[in-house]
Symmetry: C2
Subunit: 321 residues, 2 copies
């Protein structure tokens, strides 16, 4: 039943788990380096092909990413999974290259005010930094990818015009950066915006290779992924167990959940190379390690064909239709 | 931007809120009649056109539905929203008709073992009851709708063959019941199964008018709705704030969340006649009234274009890409 992809879906998707970076960067409590390494290595063992594992930012600014080098040093590289890290400036790029990342991710907000709030400088300055990092990457033979934050809306400015996304994508292209991620930083993406952005970029910046990064802050994260799959997108970022949150809305969820996305893909006949049972196990262990209920659903309910006995039912007479 | 429906989506969808019934029937604590009536009336005021408000089952079996008559008596009928109730047998139908429901919903599981576990009798016996209720409805001029439980899988038997769904749909048809709901009782629906079931029923039981009822137990509830919308389905059941749970998996969610679904529809240019802001307010009050964090996401994050000031940000230096 699941051999052929669902109508319009691609045959294979590359999952990028960003839990160790996007999920943990603003985690309210300190998370030990050991917990991060265990998380990353068990994700690799489950078959996740690419992970954004840390951020080479100033430790003072993001305390939970202060151990970037130590995290990198503890990762099992034997399986060939691609390890990327977020890099805001030349100093970060130096550290990232030294630590042996497989690729560096630079970032820039599509909206000026978010860029200012996020990294305290203008988009132009961020773009200049990206260009410098791109040159450093070229010299060191380390690929550089570009993330576009607030690609579906800005918490300060509201809607972000598609022309601004096209502009950033072209600017990245001018720096030699073609592998781009549209980041739904605060959960403002909708299926319609996904469709519009993917179609416009395919036409206007055909050299750009687009990945999608959704947050489930308003519940439609997997619906947005669905829309992206139908546009032929084959790279999606997600966070194991849905670790993370939204800095704007206490209690709201952050990144879409990796194992829920993989479950949807598996049930839609889209190959990911990931072992879902192993992924569920990682999600459960992560929840335990972080000591907090996390948003992931499949890890709570178990695999689709999990069987129950009649005695297992909480209320056998609830008349559930 | 949202005037025309997203490719393949219908122009208008009828939302059926089932929170007061499916959400509350197995709620661990007693819920007062006043809270239920307030919930229902505020949903009506927000523009919800149809609600499954209670269940005329034996009070001993489902204590939280013991006040079915009182709930019905307290509902504001002036706006013409359609009030339906679940009815398991002739005794329930008598009470429902007496209480003045606009329509009765009979139910039957597609899998024998779930029917046994749910109502302690065979599917044949449940079907005979449905036929009797259909006759009673005809005499009283009260429409009868049919729910098919475990329409996407059974927690005891696993997969449920499409031929079993077709069979139940035809049996309902033989009783004169054409308005059917495919119930994803324990969150086993997937986009592919939605597609398969909708297409097969359209061909093999063309007289059946299909509604979809999903649970978000494995995170893909709105993705299943997405698949259903692309099949042209125009009636969806959901529960305000995502009230409810899964009797099989403690901690897992139950019904998809009404306001999250309405948000997705609104952003996809599909009319529902519902005021989303009012719906969010109902969800928040419901969470407060029930005294427990509920799964709804939009109610936590707020409307999509909610604006923030820079000072609102939890961590302005999280480097969020």
């Amino acid at each position: 039943m699941t051999e052929v992809p669902l109508d319009g879906f691609p045959e294979r998707v590359r999952i990028v788990d960003v839990g160790a970076r996007d999920g943990l960067q603003a985690w309210p409590d300190p998370v030990s380096t050991d917990v991060k390494i265990e998380l990353i290595n068990t994700l690799i063992a489950a078959g996740v092909p690419q992970l954004e594992v840390t951020s080479f930012v100033a430790p003072r600014a993001v305390p939970n990413m202060a151990d970037a080098r130590e995290v990198m040093a503890g990762i099992d590289r034997s399986r060939g999974a691609e390890m990327t890290a977020l890099v805001p400036n030349a100093r970060g790029a130096e550290r990232a290259i030294e630590a042996g990342v497989d690729a560096m991710v630079v970032f820039l907000s599509a909206s000026e005010s978010h860029n200012q709030a996020n990294v305290n400088c203008s988009r132009d300055k961020s773009l200049a930094a990206a260009a410098e990092i791109a040159r450093m990457g070229q010299d060191a033979d380390v690929p550089v990818y570009g993330a576009i934050a607030t690609a579906f809306g800005c918490p300060f400015e509201g809607n972000v015009a598609i022309k601004d996304i096209v502009q950033v994508a072209k600017s990245y292209g001018d720096c030699g950066i073609a592998q781009l991620t549209l980041g739904d930083t605060t959960g403002m993406a909708t299926p319609r915006l996904v469709q519009e952005r993917c179609r416009t970029l395919a036409t206007e910046v055909p050299a750009a290779d687009i990945a999608l990064h959704f947050h489930n802050t308003r519940g439609v994260g997997l619906a947005c992924a669905y829309a992206g799959l139908q546009e032929g997108i084959t790279r999606f970022e997600a966070s194991i167990a849905g670790i993370g949150g939204c800095p704007f809305a206490p209690g709201a969820t952050g990144n879409i959940c990796t194992e829920d996305l993989v479950y949807m893909l598996q049930e839609s006949g889209v190959a990911t190379g990931i072992n879902l049972d192993a992924l569920i196990e990682v999600a459960r262990r992560t929840e335990k390690a972080l000591g907090q209920t996390l948003p992931g659903q499949v890890m709570k309910a178990g695999p689709r064909l999990r069987r129950y006995e009649r005695e297992d039912v909480r209320s056998s007479s609830g008349s559930r239709a």
